[in-house]
Symmetry: D2
Subunit: 102 residues, 4 copies
Amino acid sequence: MNRIQKVVDEWVSQPQHKVKYFPPFELCAQLSEEIGEVAREVAHLYGYKKKKEGEKTDGLEGEIGDVLFVLACLANSQGIDLDEAFNKSVEKKNQRDKHRFE
Amino acid sequence: MNRIQKVVDEWVSQPQHKVKYFPPFELCAQLSEEIGEVAREVAHLYGYKKKKEGEKTDGLEGEIGDVLFVLACLANSQGIDLDEAFNKSVEKKNQRDKHRFE
Amino acid sequence: MNRIQKVVDEWVSQPQHKVKYFPPFELCAQLSEEIGEVAREVAHLYGYKKKKEGEKTDGLEGEIGDVLFVLACLANSQGIDLDEAFNKSVEKKNQRDKHRFE
Amino acid sequence: MNRIQKVVDEWVSQPQHKVKYFPPFELCAQLSEEIGEVAREVAHLYGYKKKKEGEKTDGLEGEIGDVLFVLACLANSQGIDLDEAFNKSVEKKNQRDKHRFE
Protein backbone atom coordinates (compact mmCIF):
# COMPACT_ATOMS: atom_id res chain seq x y z
CA MET A 1 0.00 0.00 0.00
CA ASN A 2 3.00 2.22 0.42
CA ARG A 3 2.75 3.09 -3.25
CA ILE A 4 -0.70 4.65 -2.86
CA GLN A 5 0.33 6.71 0.13
CA LYS A 6 3.43 7.95 -1.69
CA VAL A 7 1.52 8.87 -4.86
CA VAL A 8 -1.00 10.79 -2.75
CA ASP A 9 1.74 12.59 -0.87
CA GLU A 10 3.41 13.64 -4.10
CA TRP A 11 0.09 14.69 -5.56
CA VAL A 12 -0.90 16.94 -2.66
CA SER A 13 2.61 18.43 -2.57
CA GLN A 14 2.21 20.02 -6.00
CA PRO A 15 2.83 23.77 -5.88
CA GLN A 16 -0.65 24.75 -7.10
CA HIS A 17 -2.31 23.26 -4.00
CA LYS A 18 -2.83 25.80 -1.27
CA VAL A 19 -2.71 23.22 1.48
CA LYS A 20 -1.16 19.77 1.45
CA TYR A 21 -3.78 17.95 3.44
CA PHE A 22 -7.18 19.34 4.30
CA PRO A 23 -8.13 19.41 7.99
CA PRO A 24 -9.42 16.05 9.27
CA PHE A 25 -13.10 17.03 9.45
CA GLU A 26 -12.98 18.25 5.85
CA LEU A 27 -11.41 14.95 4.79
CA CYS A 28 -14.26 13.17 6.60
CA ALA A 29 -16.75 15.24 4.61
CA GLN A 30 -14.93 14.20 1.43
CA LEU A 31 -15.01 10.56 2.49
CA SER A 32 -18.74 10.86 3.07
CA GLU A 33 -19.15 12.39 -0.40
CA GLU A 34 -17.08 9.66 -2.10
CA ILE A 35 -18.84 6.84 -0.26
CA GLY A 36 -22.11 8.37 -1.37
CA GLU A 37 -20.92 8.17 -4.97
CA VAL A 38 -20.00 4.52 -4.50
CA ALA A 39 -23.51 3.93 -3.14
CA ARG A 40 -25.02 5.72 -6.14
CA GLU A 41 -23.04 3.53 -8.55
CA VAL A 42 -24.13 0.38 -6.73
CA ALA A 43 -27.75 1.60 -6.91
CA HIS A 44 -27.39 2.19 -10.64
CA LEU A 45 -25.97 -1.29 -11.14
CA TYR A 46 -28.19 -3.30 -8.81
CA GLY A 47 -31.16 -1.20 -7.77
CA TYR A 48 -34.46 0.15 -9.01
CA LYS A 49 -33.20 3.69 -9.41
CA LYS A 50 -32.15 4.61 -12.91
CA LYS A 51 -29.53 7.18 -13.78
CA LYS A 52 -30.80 10.64 -14.52
CA GLU A 53 -30.50 11.34 -18.23
CA GLY A 54 -27.19 12.89 -19.11
CA GLU A 55 -25.75 12.06 -15.69
CA LYS A 56 -22.06 11.42 -16.06
CA THR A 57 -20.39 9.11 -13.61
CA ASP A 58 -17.01 7.51 -13.31
CA GLY A 59 -18.38 4.09 -12.77
CA LEU A 60 -17.93 2.04 -9.64
CA GLU A 61 -14.20 1.52 -10.27
CA GLY A 62 -13.51 5.24 -10.39
CA GLU A 63 -15.58 5.94 -7.30
CA ILE A 64 -13.82 3.20 -5.33
CA GLY A 65 -10.54 4.77 -6.44
CA ASP A 66 -11.71 8.13 -5.13
CA VAL A 67 -12.49 6.61 -1.74
CA LEU A 68 -8.97 5.12 -1.65
CA PHE A 69 -7.48 8.50 -2.54
CA VAL A 70 -9.28 10.36 0.26
CA LEU A 71 -8.63 7.51 2.71
CA ALA A 72 -4.91 7.78 1.91
CA CYS A 73 -5.08 11.57 2.44
CA LEU A 74 -6.62 11.05 5.86
CA ALA A 75 -4.12 8.31 6.74
CA ASN A 76 -1.13 10.39 5.55
CA SER A 77 -2.28 13.49 7.39
CA GLN A 78 -2.61 11.46 10.60
CA GLY A 79 0.62 9.48 10.26
CA ILE A 80 -1.23 6.21 9.75
CA ASP A 81 0.16 3.37 7.61
CA LEU A 82 -2.62 1.84 5.50
CA ASP A 83 -0.99 -1.60 5.44
CA GLU A 84 -0.73 -1.71 9.21
CA ALA A 85 -4.25 -0.37 9.58
CA PHE A 86 -5.51 -3.16 7.33
CA ASN A 87 -3.53 -5.80 9.27
CA LYS A 88 -5.02 -4.52 12.51
CA SER A 89 -8.52 -4.84 11.06
CA VAL A 90 -7.89 -8.44 9.99
CA GLU A 91 -6.42 -9.39 13.38
CA LYS A 92 -9.43 -7.89 15.13
CA LYS A 93 -11.80 -9.85 12.91
CA ASN A 94 -9.86 -13.07 13.57
CA GLN A 95 -9.92 -12.48 17.30
CA ARG A 96 -13.62 -11.66 17.34
CA ASP A 97 -14.67 -14.53 15.11
CA LYS A 98 -12.63 -17.02 17.12
CA HIS A 99 -15.15 -16.57 19.92
CA ARG A 100 -18.13 -16.35 17.62
CA PHE A 101 -17.68 -19.79 16.09
CA GLU A 102 -16.55 -21.71 19.17
CA MET B 1 -2.67 -3.43 -3.31
CA ASN B 2 -2.90 -6.96 -4.54
CA ARG B 3 -1.90 -8.17 -1.09
CA ILE B 4 -4.96 -6.63 0.57
CA GLN B 5 -7.34 -8.06 -1.99
CA LYS B 6 -5.78 -11.51 -1.63
CA VAL B 7 -5.91 -11.45 2.17
CA VAL B 8 -9.56 -10.44 2.02
CA ASP B 9 -10.36 -13.17 -0.48
CA GLU B 10 -8.72 -15.80 1.71
CA TRP B 11 -10.46 -14.45 4.77
CA VAL B 12 -13.97 -14.56 3.28
CA SER B 13 -13.29 -18.04 1.86
CA GLN B 14 -12.98 -19.58 5.33
CA PRO B 15 -15.42 -22.48 5.77
CA GLN B 16 -17.32 -20.90 8.70
CA HIS B 17 -18.56 -18.05 6.52
CA LYS B 18 -21.96 -18.73 5.03
CA VAL B 19 -21.35 -16.47 2.06
CA LYS B 20 -18.09 -15.33 0.56
CA TYR B 21 -19.07 -11.79 -0.30
CA PHE B 22 -22.21 -10.08 0.91
CA PRO B 23 -24.50 -8.62 -1.77
CA PRO B 24 -23.36 -5.18 -3.01
CA PHE B 25 -26.03 -3.16 -1.18
CA GLU B 26 -25.13 -4.86 2.09
CA LEU B 27 -21.46 -4.04 1.50
CA CYS B 28 -22.51 -0.42 0.91
CA ALA B 29 -24.30 -0.44 4.25
CA GLN B 30 -21.12 -1.78 5.87
CA LEU B 31 -19.05 0.92 4.18
CA SER B 32 -21.45 3.52 5.53
CA GLU B 33 -21.09 2.02 9.01
CA GLU B 34 -17.28 1.96 8.86
CA ILE B 35 -17.02 5.49 7.49
CA GLY B 36 -19.28 6.58 10.34
CA GLU B 37 -16.81 5.06 12.79
CA VAL B 38 -13.94 6.90 11.12
CA ALA B 39 -15.96 10.11 11.50
CA ARG B 40 -16.58 9.34 15.18
CA GLU B 41 -12.87 8.82 15.80
CA VAL B 42 -12.02 12.09 14.07
CA ALA B 43 -14.66 13.84 16.20
CA HIS B 44 -13.12 12.37 19.35
CA LEU B 45 -9.67 13.52 18.32
CA TYR B 46 -10.47 16.95 16.93
CA GLY B 47 -13.99 17.93 17.92
CA TYR B 48 -16.05 19.14 20.85
CA LYS B 49 -17.75 15.80 21.42
CA LYS B 50 -16.21 13.67 24.10
CA LYS B 51 -16.29 9.90 24.16
CA LYS B 52 -19.06 8.36 26.18
CA GLU B 53 -17.66 6.83 29.36
CA GLY B 54 -16.62 3.25 28.86
CA GLU B 55 -16.93 3.56 25.08
CA LYS B 56 -14.40 1.27 23.50
CA THR B 57 -13.08 2.13 20.10
CA ASP B 58 -10.36 0.82 17.90
CA GLY B 59 -8.86 4.19 17.29
CA LEU B 60 -8.65 5.90 13.95
CA GLU B 61 -6.08 3.43 12.60
CA GLY B 62 -8.34 0.45 13.21
CA GLU B 63 -11.37 2.16 11.72
CA ILE B 64 -9.45 3.16 8.60
CA GLY B 65 -8.36 -0.48 8.33
CA ASP B 66 -12.00 -1.56 8.53
CA VAL B 67 -12.93 0.77 5.67
CA LEU B 68 -10.11 -0.76 3.60
CA PHE B 69 -11.34 -4.26 4.41
CA VAL B 70 -14.92 -3.56 3.30
CA LEU B 71 -13.72 -1.59 0.27
CA ALA B 72 -11.63 -4.61 -0.75
CA CYS B 73 -14.69 -6.87 -0.27
CA LEU B 74 -16.74 -4.65 -2.56
CA ALA B 75 -13.92 -4.45 -5.12
CA ASN B 76 -13.31 -8.21 -5.06
CA SER B 77 -17.00 -9.02 -5.38
CA GLN B 78 -17.24 -6.72 -8.41
CA GLY B 79 -14.01 -7.80 -10.10
CA ILE B 80 -12.35 -4.44 -9.54
CA ASP B 81 -8.60 -4.05 -9.01
CA LEU B 82 -7.92 -1.51 -6.25
CA ASP B 83 -4.59 -0.43 -7.73
CA GLU B 84 -6.17 0.30 -11.10
CA ALA B 85 -9.12 2.04 -9.44
CA PHE B 86 -6.69 4.27 -7.56
CA ASN B 87 -4.71 5.04 -10.73
CA LYS B 88 -7.93 5.99 -12.50
CA SER B 89 -8.80 8.38 -9.68
CA VAL B 90 -5.38 10.06 -9.87
CA GLU B 91 -5.56 10.39 -13.66
CA LYS B 92 -9.00 11.95 -13.38
CA LYS B 93 -7.76 14.46 -10.81
CA ASN B 94 -4.79 15.34 -13.01
CA GLN B 95 -7.02 15.83 -16.03
CA ARG B 96 -9.52 17.95 -14.11
CA ASP B 97 -6.95 20.09 -12.36
CA LYS B 98 -5.08 20.75 -15.58
CA HIS B 99 -8.05 22.87 -16.67
CA ARG B 100 -8.63 24.35 -13.23
CA PHE B 101 -5.21 25.92 -12.89
CA GLU B 102 -4.69 27.12 -16.45
CA MET C 1 -43.70 15.45 11.18
CA ASN C 2 -46.76 13.56 10.12
CA ARG C 3 -47.09 15.91 7.17
CA ILE C 4 -43.74 14.86 5.71
CA GLN C 5 -44.49 11.16 6.05
CA LYS C 6 -47.89 11.62 4.39
CA VAL C 7 -46.49 13.65 1.50
CA VAL C 8 -43.84 10.99 0.94
CA ASP C 9 -46.41 8.21 1.04
CA GLU C 10 -48.58 9.98 -1.53
CA TRP C 11 -45.55 10.69 -3.67
CA VAL C 12 -44.33 7.10 -3.80
CA SER C 13 -47.88 5.87 -4.44
CA GLN C 14 -48.06 7.59 -7.82
CA PRO C 15 -48.90 5.13 -10.59
CA GLN C 16 -45.71 5.73 -12.59
CA HIS C 17 -43.55 4.33 -9.77
CA LYS C 18 -42.82 0.65 -10.16
CA VAL C 19 -42.40 0.10 -6.46
CA LYS C 20 -43.71 2.14 -3.56
CA TYR C 21 -40.72 1.87 -1.29
CA PHE C 22 -37.33 0.57 -2.32
CA PRO C 23 -35.90 -2.30 -0.26
CA PRO C 24 -34.24 -1.14 2.99
CA PHE C 25 -30.62 -1.64 1.81
CA GLU C 26 -31.32 0.41 -1.30
CA LEU C 27 -32.80 3.17 0.85
CA CYS C 28 -29.62 3.04 2.95
CA ALA C 29 -27.57 3.50 -0.20
CA GLN C 30 -29.73 6.51 -1.09
CA LEU C 31 -29.26 7.93 2.40
CA SER C 32 -25.51 7.53 2.01
CA GLU C 33 -25.68 9.33 -1.33
CA GLU C 34 -27.77 12.21 0.04
CA ILE C 35 -25.60 12.64 3.14
CA GLY C 36 -22.62 12.77 0.82
CA GLU C 37 -24.26 15.63 -1.05
CA VAL C 38 -24.88 17.47 2.21
CA ALA C 39 -21.18 17.00 3.03
CA ARG C 40 -20.21 18.34 -0.40
CA GLU C 41 -22.34 21.46 0.10
CA VAL C 42 -20.81 22.04 3.54
CA ALA C 43 -17.33 21.66 2.00
CA HIS C 44 -18.23 24.20 -0.68
CA LEU C 45 -19.47 26.65 1.93
CA TYR C 46 -16.84 26.22 4.62
CA GLY C 47 -13.90 24.30 3.19
CA TYR C 48 -10.90 24.64 0.96
CA LYS C 49 -12.42 22.68 -1.89
CA LYS C 50 -13.94 24.78 -4.63
CA LYS C 51 -16.84 23.70 -6.79
CA LYS C 52 -15.91 22.21 -10.11
CA GLU C 53 -16.72 24.61 -12.91
CA GLY C 54 -20.25 24.16 -14.17
CA GLU C 55 -21.15 21.94 -11.25
CA LYS C 56 -24.83 22.38 -10.48
CA THR C 57 -26.00 21.80 -6.95
CA ASP C 58 -29.20 22.35 -5.09
CA GLY C 59 -27.54 24.11 -2.24
CA LEU C 60 -27.44 22.90 1.31
CA GLU C 61 -31.18 23.46 1.84
CA GLY C 62 -32.13 21.21 -1.05
CA GLU C 63 -29.71 18.49 -0.01
CA ILE C 64 -31.00 18.53 3.57
CA GLY C 65 -34.50 18.22 2.11
CA ASP C 66 -33.39 15.19 0.12
CA VAL C 67 -32.06 13.52 3.28
CA LEU C 68 -35.43 14.14 4.95
CA PHE C 69 -37.24 12.64 1.96
CA VAL C 70 -35.21 9.43 1.97
CA LEU C 71 -35.33 9.22 5.77
CA ALA C 72 -39.14 9.45 5.58
CA CYS C 73 -39.14 6.70 2.91
CA LEU C 74 -37.12 4.44 5.20
CA ALA C 75 -39.30 5.28 8.21
CA ASN C 76 -42.55 4.73 6.27
CA SER C 77 -41.37 1.45 4.81
CA GLN C 78 -40.48 0.21 8.30
CA GLY C 79 -43.59 1.49 10.09
CA ILE C 80 -41.63 4.04 12.09
CA ASP C 81 -43.09 7.37 13.20
CA LEU C 82 -40.52 10.15 12.75
CA ASP C 83 -41.92 12.22 15.62
CA GLU C 84 -41.66 9.33 18.03
CA ALA C 85 -38.21 8.44 16.72
CA PHE C 86 -37.08 12.00 17.39
CA ASN C 87 -38.61 12.00 20.88
CA LYS C 88 -36.78 8.77 21.66
CA SER C 89 -33.50 10.32 20.55
CA VAL C 90 -34.03 13.36 22.81
CA GLU C 91 -34.96 11.20 25.80
CA LYS C 92 -31.85 9.08 25.28
CA LYS C 93 -29.67 12.19 25.14
CA ASN C 94 -31.28 13.55 28.32
CA GLN C 95 -30.76 10.26 30.13
CA ARG C 96 -27.17 9.95 29.00
CA ASP C 97 -26.24 13.54 29.73
CA LYS C 98 -27.79 13.40 33.17
CA HIS C 99 -24.97 11.06 34.17
CA ARG C 100 -22.35 12.92 32.20
CA PHE C 101 -22.77 16.23 34.01
CA GLU C 102 -23.33 14.97 37.55
CA MET D 1 -41.31 20.26 11.55
CA ASN D 2 -41.05 23.47 13.51
CA ARG D 3 -41.47 21.46 16.70
CA ILE D 4 -38.31 19.41 16.08
CA GLN D 5 -36.21 22.46 15.30
CA LYS D 6 -37.49 24.23 18.44
CA VAL D 7 -36.85 21.22 20.68
CA VAL D 8 -33.32 20.95 19.30
CA ASP D 9 -32.69 24.65 19.81
CA GLU D 10 -33.85 24.46 23.42
CA TRP D 11 -31.79 21.33 23.98
CA VAL D 12 -28.53 22.78 22.69
CA SER D 13 -29.16 26.01 24.64
CA GLN D 14 -28.88 24.22 28.00
CA PRO D 15 -26.22 25.83 30.21
CA GLN D 16 -24.07 22.69 30.50
CA HIS D 17 -23.32 22.71 26.76
CA LYS D 18 -20.11 24.51 25.94
CA VAL D 19 -21.26 25.44 22.45
CA LYS D 20 -24.78 25.68 21.08
CA TYR D 21 -24.14 24.22 17.65
CA PHE D 22 -20.99 22.42 16.64
CA PRO D 23 -19.18 23.76 13.55
CA PRO D 24 -20.71 22.53 10.26
CA PHE D 25 -17.95 20.02 9.43
CA GLU D 26 -18.28 18.47 12.87
CA LEU D 27 -22.05 18.17 12.37
CA CYS D 28 -21.34 16.46 9.03
CA ALA D 29 -19.11 13.98 10.84
CA GLN D 30 -21.95 13.32 13.30
CA LEU D 31 -24.40 12.85 10.42
CA SER D 32 -22.01 10.34 8.89
CA GLU D 33 -21.79 8.52 12.22
CA GLU D 34 -25.58 8.42 12.70
CA ILE D 35 -26.26 7.29 9.13
CA GLY D 36 -23.72 4.54 9.71
CA GLU D 37 -25.72 3.40 12.73
CA VAL D 38 -28.91 3.38 10.66
CA ALA D 39 -27.07 1.22 8.10
CA ARG D 40 -25.89 -1.13 10.85
CA GLU D 41 -29.46 -1.55 12.14
CA VAL D 42 -30.75 -2.26 8.64
CA ALA D 43 -27.97 -4.84 8.22
CA HIS D 44 -28.97 -6.49 11.49
CA LEU D 45 -32.59 -6.63 10.42
CA TYR D 46 -32.22 -7.62 6.77
CA GLY D 47 -28.67 -8.77 6.15
CA TYR D 48 -26.33 -11.66 6.70
CA LYS D 49 -24.36 -9.92 9.41
CA LYS D 50 -25.38 -10.80 12.92
CA LYS D 51 -25.04 -8.52 15.90
CA LYS D 52 -21.93 -8.99 17.97
CA GLU D 53 -22.80 -10.62 21.25
CA GLY D 54 -23.63 -8.09 23.92
CA GLU D 55 -23.86 -5.31 21.37
CA LYS D 56 -26.42 -2.79 22.56
CA THR D 57 -28.22 -0.74 19.99
CA ASP D 58 -31.13 1.62 20.04
CA GLY D 59 -32.90 -0.09 17.23
CA LEU D 60 -33.68 1.43 13.90
CA GLU D 61 -36.25 3.84 15.34
CA GLY D 62 -33.73 5.36 17.73
CA GLU D 63 -31.05 5.67 15.09
CA ILE D 64 -33.44 7.37 12.67
CA GLY D 65 -34.32 9.74 15.50
CA ASP D 66 -30.62 10.50 15.98
CA VAL D 67 -30.24 11.36 12.29
CA LEU D 68 -33.21 13.75 12.61
CA PHE D 69 -31.64 15.35 15.67
CA VAL D 70 -28.30 16.03 13.97
CA LEU D 71 -30.03 17.11 10.76
CA ALA D 72 -32.04 19.65 12.77
CA CYS D 73 -28.80 20.86 14.42
CA LEU D 74 -27.24 21.42 11.01
CA ALA D 75 -30.39 23.10 9.67
CA ASN D 76 -30.73 25.36 12.74
CA SER D 77 -27.07 26.35 12.69
CA GLN D 78 -27.40 27.32 9.02
CA GLY D 79 -30.75 29.11 9.27
CA ILE D 80 -32.53 26.46 7.20
CA ASP D 81 -36.19 25.55 7.71
CA LEU D 82 -36.65 21.78 7.49
CA ASP D 83 -40.22 22.05 6.19
CA GLU D 84 -39.17 24.34 3.37
CA ALA D 85 -36.14 22.16 2.63
CA PHE D 86 -38.43 19.15 2.34
CA ASN D 87 -40.87 21.03 0.09
CA LYS D 88 -37.99 22.04 -2.17
CA SER D 89 -36.91 18.41 -2.45
CA VAL D 90 -40.42 17.28 -3.44
CA GLU D 91 -40.78 20.06 -6.01
CA LYS D 92 -37.44 19.11 -7.53
CA LYS D 93 -38.48 15.46 -7.74
CA ASN D 94 -41.78 16.44 -9.37
CA GLN D 95 -40.03 18.64 -11.89
CA ARG D 96 -37.43 15.99 -12.72
CA ASP D 97 -39.90 13.13 -12.97
CA LYS D 98 -42.22 15.12 -15.19
CA HIS D 99 -39.60 14.86 -17.92
CA ARG D 100 -38.65 11.31 -17.06
CA PHE D 101 -42.10 9.83 -17.63
CA GLU D 102 -43.23 11.87 -20.62
